[in-house]
């Protein structure tokens, strides 16, 4: 057992670390971008550098402009990138989920047209799956696409779309055959986000921020050649995309409160019996937080080890989000309770208490995003432990005839 890079990994890490250090200087100490344009420009510039240097699409097949390398290289690059000043994030969904779906299921013309430009960073992509009535039950999609000659006409609403207002294109799942069973009548398309009839509105969250959009489609036309996968195969195709998400929404947002912050906060709080960090109940919570946070990190290192050994990671990965999200909510609440008035008054921007206040709200969202606690427990029980599924209404009823029970 060891936690070290293999010689090959170490060498690759050396190489990329050097390159990243060299090429991220210009971003160091920059103030956060003030406008969307600044934000996009900065992200584009970095993506272009990676593309030119051959660090874009590290795991993608060469024929799609990728590097054809293994997952470890990609992980090592992201780790080093994460330690640097590099402006990242905008391409995560597009290059992580959308484009792989496009080059797996799209036709050659579509691949030639979209994949290279996307990898270079010229065009930004979003993913248009969720709907108000299709959340946990994603196949409940109602946005419809109707054939008109060799075009399709899309009408409906999507929700929880990240950065829709900054994107050029998106992949959208639509219902093309309401008389087919729920999972059979869906089809995926590429859609131009700048086209008339497409409207992205920011979706304000409980916390006040708005990192997502609602997107409305009103008679939006798409050529049949922009179809991704066969008509009626939308569900199968969407699953490819979601595979990647499950991995993505693994842990909690970087820099969010952990056992260490709880310990630090508690140290500063004087009680009648000395610092709160000496109270047995607080110590219990610190221990619990360490066990959950570190336990998930260690579990992820088990997965990395598998990849590093060329094996497939085990099912234990599936515990990550359900553990960290709830832990984050409880730790934040406890720390705010311990801080009494100070934890309730809006804390100064960037302070520990500010982090705790936002994470108390953020955690409520994290427990839902990319699979609720309940859905994830179902998945663990069914796919990992082999328990039977919930009793469901017959799967073969035509979508339009489904009567909710």
């Amino acid at each position: 057992m060891d936690f070290n890079d293999t010689p090959e990994e170490a060498a690759y890490r050396e190489k990329v670390r050097a390159w990243i250090a060299e090429n991220t200087r210009e971003y160091e100490g920059l103030a956060p971008p003030r406008t969307n344009e600044d934000f996009v420009a900065r992200q584009k510039s970095w993506q272009k550098k990676k593309y030119d240097a051959g660090y874009a699409g590290i795991t993608w097949p060469k024929k799609f402009g990728g590097q054809g390398r293994g997952p470890m290289e990609s992980i090592i690059f992201s780790q080093e990138e994460g330690k640097s000043a590099a402006p990242t994030g905008l391409y995560a969904i597009g290059l992580g989920m959308c484009i792989p779906t496009v080059f797996t299921h799209g036709n050659q013309d579509v691949i030639d047209r979209f994949v290279p430009v996307a990898l270079e960073g010229e065009e930004i992509w979003c993913q248009l799956f969720s709907e108000p009535a299709a959340g946990s039950d994603l196949a409940g999609i109602r946005t419809k696409a109707e054939k008109d000659g060799d075009e399709w006409v899309i009408n409906g609403q999507k929700v929880w779309t990240t950065n829709a207002h900054l994107c050029d294109y998106g992949i959208i799942v639509t219902r093309t055959d309401p008389s087919a069973p729920k999972h059979k009548g869906l089809t995926m398309f590429i859609v131009d986000m700048h086209q008339k009839g497409v409207e992205a509105r920011p979706l304000k969250q409980m916390s006040g921020g708005a990192s997502f959009n609602e997107v409305f489609f009103d008679d939006v036309r798409v050529p049949d050649s922009w179809r991704v996968g066969d008509e009626g195969d939308g569900w199968k195709v969407a699953l490819t995309t979601l595979m990647n998400e499950r991995l993505a929404v693994g842990g909690k947002p970087g820099g969010s409160p952990d056992w260490k912050m709880l310990m630090d906060v508690a140290k500063e709080i004087e009680t009648a019996l000395g610092p709160a960090s000496e109270q047995a109940d607080v110590r219990e919570e610190i221990a619990k937080a360490y066990i959950n946070d570190r336990g998930v990190k260690l579990t992820q290192q088990r997965a990395l080890s598998a990849l590093s050994q060329g094996k497939t990671p085990g099912p234990e990965q599936s515990i990550s989000k359900v553990v960290v999200a709830k832990q984050m909510q409880e730790l934040s609440r406890l720390a705010l309770d311990l801080s009494e008035s100070q934890g309730f008054v809006r804390a100064p921007e960037g302070s520990e208490l500010d982090k705790l206040q936002s994470s108390y709200f953020g955690a409520a969202g994290l427990r839902i995003a990319g699979g609720t606690d309940e859905i994830l427990r179902n998945i663990i029980a069914e796919r990992v432990l082999g328990l039977p599924g919930d009793l469901r209404p017959p799967k073969d009823t035509p979508f339009k005839d489904i009567k909710p029970l």
């Binding site: 969250q205 705010l336 008035s341 809006r346 909710p404």
Partner: protein
Amino acid sequence: MNFDFSEDARTLQDAARRVFDETAGPDAARKVMNDDSLHYDEAIWKQAVELGLTAVRIPEAHGGMGLGAEEVCLIAEEIGRGLVPAPLMSSLLFTEALLIAGSEKQQAKWLPGIADGSVIGCVGWGEGGTQLPGSTPDTRMTKDGLSGTKSPVADAPIANVAAVTYAGSDGPSLALVDLSQDDAAVSVVETLDLVRPYGSIELKNAKVEPMGTSGAYQDFLDRAAVLLSFEALGTQEAAMRMAVDYARDRVAFGQRIGRYQGVKHKAADMYIKGELARAHAMHGAWAFSANSPELRQAAAAARTASLDALTFTAEENVQLHGGIGFTWESNCQFYYRRARALSAALGSRGFWSDRLVRSLEQRNAAAA
């Protein structure tokens, strides 16, 4: 045995509930939240005053209704249920402070105004840090007057008078502050609760009157805890209803999500925690009205249990709604935020669970 509220108390509660059902609730709260110029809803305040809700506990001699603990507890519950955007709780708590710690003269001066709604009262114990209601405040009384800062004080920005804590000779005690004086400067303080206004009261050698002993303050804490427990219960039940109603309608995978035990058992836990808290809150209401020595433990248990019930329900209400519950447009946020506000309102659960055990130990020692 009659461990239940009187018919009269229930009647008053129903009256309050009818008014708040019409006027208050999440929409009214949202209106106040969205309008920065608005600290509370004057129309609701007027109606509540007309109904006599600020006058229940005030002796008839001072223009009040001279009613008991049962009535004010049930009113607090309705205030909580309706998320009522008006300074009612603050005035009720101030009234209790004055009743238990105030002199005849002080009561005569302020209670009539509270009763007729011309005066808004508030209570300030925190000092912006991690103080507990039991710890000795930094606010000090010198021959020149009272100096210190009380924050965050609910409804201070709209209040005329405040009961604040200071370091009395034998522990924290109450003092009466006329907020119209310039030696008491109130500024608005932002908190996690976007509906109820909070303020900081800065006292510079303020001319104030002491109110009662440190013992009276401890007794006030018990009564305040009981009232806040009923407010929490009302809010908790409203959040639970919201969750249950949604679970009854929302469909996922072809069936209403309320059919899934994952959802059902969560809702059952909301109810279980709520009823446990209710039992203790009722015990507190009884001990309050009977002036029983059990009041200290009953109040502490009620406060602890009601915060547990409200926190759990507010958090799982969002969870049960899924994505939509996390949006600004959803009403889930009001309960999620108010749970924080009620936690911070008078020392969070840790203070009260410890106070509970302390009082149990004392009763055991006494019994032995």
